[in-house]
């Protein structure tokens, strides 16, 4: 048994062996993840995008997530190799070519956390925080959430998550789960320009969701992955090309009614989830912001938070 250490500190051969044995254990935020299924594309991805993440090669305890990356059938283990994520329950996952292993890995972890880990209320939203508290950004796919998250990271915010707002059941606190930020299609060059090529993974092309790349989380954000925060603002961003930037304040009821359908487990948790979401919105404001460029979105956040960003 070894103490957790970051991925970069391990030999590739040892990482491969651990993935093969199914003893590769990733620790992040409140969760631990046991992953099996070695492939070269996955190892490339891990040693790049996950270089600063804390990993054990033999688990020291049971884990929240049990993810197997495996071939859909025996033929696809050898010929035109394919891979599917198996989180231990039935998922509607399409087999992907082996070169898309990073996507299978990310999808598998997302499904596991979204559907299995119900000791947090799980809201599909990006979350960043500074010393005053966290900004929760909930948007439909293509709403520009990832770009705004990436932009706020360049202006004094730390990453909680781009996908999951994890809200405590007992206290309305948000818990960091700083996985890499998944970038789709046209957001890839936008974020690349913003943060530099160094921070963006190899682009996985031709996936069922188009081109996908990952923006690596910073070591400083990972170092604070156990430090929870209260929310200070809830945003519903909407990117529309060429639109005049506008912020519309929502009353708490409206904000709650929008957060509820964005949650993967609200109806399962019921009453405590209701109290947590109302608790989250207590004494803070919620806005719908519509904008046509990243700079506009930052200016809107400046206005709302009364804080100099750009």
């Amino acid at each position: 048994m070894s103490a957790p250490s970051n991925v970069a500190s391990y030999d590739r051969r040892d990482l491969r062996a651990a993935l093969r044995n199914g003893s590769f254990t990733l620790h992040l935020g409140p969760f631990s993840h046991l992953v099996s299924g070695a492939s070269e594309p996955l190892l490339d991805f891990l040693s790049d995008t996950y270089r600063d993440y804390s990993v054990e090669l033999t688990p020291s305890d049971v884990t929240d997530v049990l993810l197997r990356l495996e071939a859909p059938n025996i033929l696809r283990r050898f010929i035109r190799r394919q891979i599917t994520p198996n989180p231990g329950f039935k998922v509607p996952a399409v087999p992907l070519p082996l070169s898309m292993s990073p996507l299978a890995f990310e999808m598998g972890l997302n499904l596991s956390v979204a559907l299995k880990c119900c000791r947090f209320i799980n809201v599909h939203a990006g979350v960043v925080a500074d010393k005053d508290g966290a900004i929760v950004m909930s948007a439909a796919s293509g709403g520009g959430k990832s770009t705004l998250t990436a932009a706020l990271l360049q202006h004094g915010y730390r990453l909680f998550s781009d996908e999951f707002a994890l809200l405590g059941l007992d206290q309305p606190l948000l818990h960091p789960y700083p996985r890499p930020i998944s970038l789709k299609q046209e957001t890839i060059p936008v974020v690349r320009d913003m943060v530099g090529d160094n921070w963006i993974s190899k682009v996985v092309t031709g996936t069922p969701k188009g081109d996908i790349a990952y923006y690596r989380a910073r070591a400083s954000d990972l170092a604070q992955d156990k430090t929870s925060a209260k929310a200070k603002l809830v945003l519903f961003p909407k990117f529309e090309k060429g639109v005049r930037p506008i912020a519309r304040q929502l009353n708490p009821a409206e904000a709650i009614m929008r957060l509820v359908p964005a949650s993967t487990n609200y109806s399962l948790l019921g009453e405590p989830a209701f109290h947590a979401i109302t608790g989250l919105l207590k004494n803070i404001r919620a806005y719908e912001i519509t904008y046509g460029s990243t700079i506009d979105s930052l200016r809107l956040v400046e206005q709302i938070t009364d804080q100099k960003l750009v």
């Binding site: 048994m1 003893s23 409140p30 631990s32 046991l34 033999t58 688990p59 020291s60 305890d61 049971v62 884990t63 929240d64 049990l66 231990g88 039935k90 998922v91 509607p92 997302n110 499904l111 979204a114 559907l115 299995k116 880990c117 119900c118 000791r119 599909h124 796919s141 996908e163 789709k184 969701k209 359908p261 964005a262 949650s263 993967t264 399962l268 948790l269 019921g270």
Partner: protein
Amino acid sequence: MQKSALKQIVGIAPLPEKVMDRIELVRNADANHILGQMASANTSDVSDRLHDIFRNALLRAGHDHIMLQFEINRLEHALSGTGIEPVVLKGGAYVARGKKAAGGRRVSDLDILVAEDELEEVETRLKEAGWSPDEATDNEYDQAYYREHMHELPPLRHAKRGTIIDVHHRLLPKTARSNVDVALMQQSAMRIAENPVRTFDDVDMFVHSAVHVFADGAIDTPARSLVELYLLYIELSSDDALRLKTRAKAVGAIKAVSTALWAIDEFFDEDNALALSNEALAEKPNFILRWAIATKTLERPSAPLAKLLLYIRSHYLRMPLRLLVPHLARKAVAWRPTTKKPIELPFP
């Protein structure tokens, strides 16, 4: 699933020391849908991380239990004024009675039992209250088959809540080779508090569970079924345990009950159960049946053969050949690969 795993799940053997073994046990319990039962039974010697995982499972079960209580409430409402006092069966009964077997158990459907001559009124009332035939069986053949040969109405699904209710009038199909005396069991069912809804008493709950597992079906969820029987058994008072034999004889379920007692001894080393089983039994469950149950449960290499035997046995018990052959032929012709509905996720 290993025999030791079953004991660890119900908390009568210490959890494995090695981390990988613990992980495998949790994976196994989850895959067999008894992680919640494991969580309820194992409350000490639990690391923070294991506690977290158990909490997930208990939260899920908690949701099911609230849903179920509400469904019972809606059922009472739908039947109010009719004087009908349905008996809630299985999971619903365990939850309503706060049995050990309910702890952490996931429940999806509400199963109820009414007298055969009450069926029509119950169905009408439920339909008025928003239940309608479930899509999967809402075709002429299935509807007719259920009504003619089965022990229950075709499943009814609530249009708004999506929950399923199975209305039984017997515990085994009408066509079954031997049937239990359901009227006798209904007579001794007891009300839950002041409500018209009833459950069996502890002895009959065990009897019904045994019948369900060993006299009907192919023991498709062996680990879950055995854990349920074990938990019901250990909650029987010593008087109840002694009453089992006479009761099982009286209602015509002696074979199923003694097989259940044998299994409880076999998998959980409950010597008392074996003693009862030996005493109850004119004939022990035969060697082949014991072999098949053990092999399927423990997932030994010869499990496929055991499964096949149990499958054939289940049909042998359920219906005579003159019904079975046309039924299977019809099913084979009508068979379509089930379409997998993707899970709706609020993220891309």
